[in-house]
Symmetry: C2
């Protein structure tokens, strides 16, 4: 679903997904931990984004992941907040809570502190929930806190773009 008269690849990811969501009448929710609102901010930086962005949850504390997004406490204890199942449950929880067609999620360690040997600074899981199922991708990003957060936001938007382009 590329638009005929512009080159979508030159647009920011938030504009590329916005074009596709609007064209297909789909709605989106966001669940963010480490990015802390950055994805929602980038999506809503585009005028007219209210046509497809319903809203989001910044689930910075694990209590918010549990109480609002329905992430299971046993998942948090068994796998930690920065893990595949938590990213998946965050996306699924946001999609249910906000009643949208699609939802994306991010959980990770933005740094500069908080890393461990098994979960280094930069480790991120980005999730996507749709009617057809859920997907999670694992990344480790280098750079300072701000770069890592931007890269994590990019990764979540790329996952959504790939879904919208039928590449998942």
């Amino acid at each position: 679903m590329t638009s005929p008269d512009s080159s979508p690849e030159t647009l920011p990811l938030e504009a590329q997904v916005g074009e596709r969501l609007r064209a297909r009448g789909l709605t989106l929710a966001v669940a963010e931990s480490s990015t802390g609102g950055l994805i929602a901010e980038r999506l809503t930086d585009i005028s007219g984004s209210s046509a497809y962005v319903i809203g989001g949850v910044v689930a910075y504390a694990d209590s918010v992941k549990e109480r609002l997004l329905g992430v299971q406490g046993e998942m948090l204890r068994a796998h930690g907040a920065v893990s595949t199942p938590v990213a998946q449950q965050m996306a699924e929880g946001a999609r249910t809570l906000l009643g949208t067609d699609l939802a994306i999620s991010v959980t990770g360690i933005a740094g500069p502190t908080g890393g461990t040997t098994t979960k280094p600074v930069g480790l991120h899981f980005v999730g996507l929930s749709a009617a057809e199922g859920a997907w999670v991708r694992r990344h480790v990003f280098a750079g300072d806190r701000r770069s890592v957060r931007q890269a994590a936001a990019d990764a979540a938007l790329q996952l959504l773009l790939d879904c919208l382009d039928g590449k998942l």
Copy 2:
């Protein structure tokens, strides 16, 4: 960016409120409409902000303001989403939902479209909820969408800073 002997007043507003929240052991939630996650993003851009930022709700659609934040439908219909009572109820709702000491909110018209004669582009209401009560300030900001959103985020953080400094 900051000089080594910088005084707190030269720090970004999110760092100034962060210092005070941390020192006093207070927690914060955010409810954002027009700023779309920008305030949460700025607050969590600071490493260690998880000590006081619990989370937030990006209530871009009015349905999210109602269902998650408990804004009354009659308030939305009678006053519109960009109004004093809605800003107040968004802040109070976020504080209750996330169980924090304090919550700040923003509702407004970031533009470039969406303005009317009575509610021009740039009109914003920023709210604060605390145990002691609630406060709302009205602003009209000039500039493009990005500038207006940054100014609205500044205004909400300034309201919080004034509260923390006992100036309300």
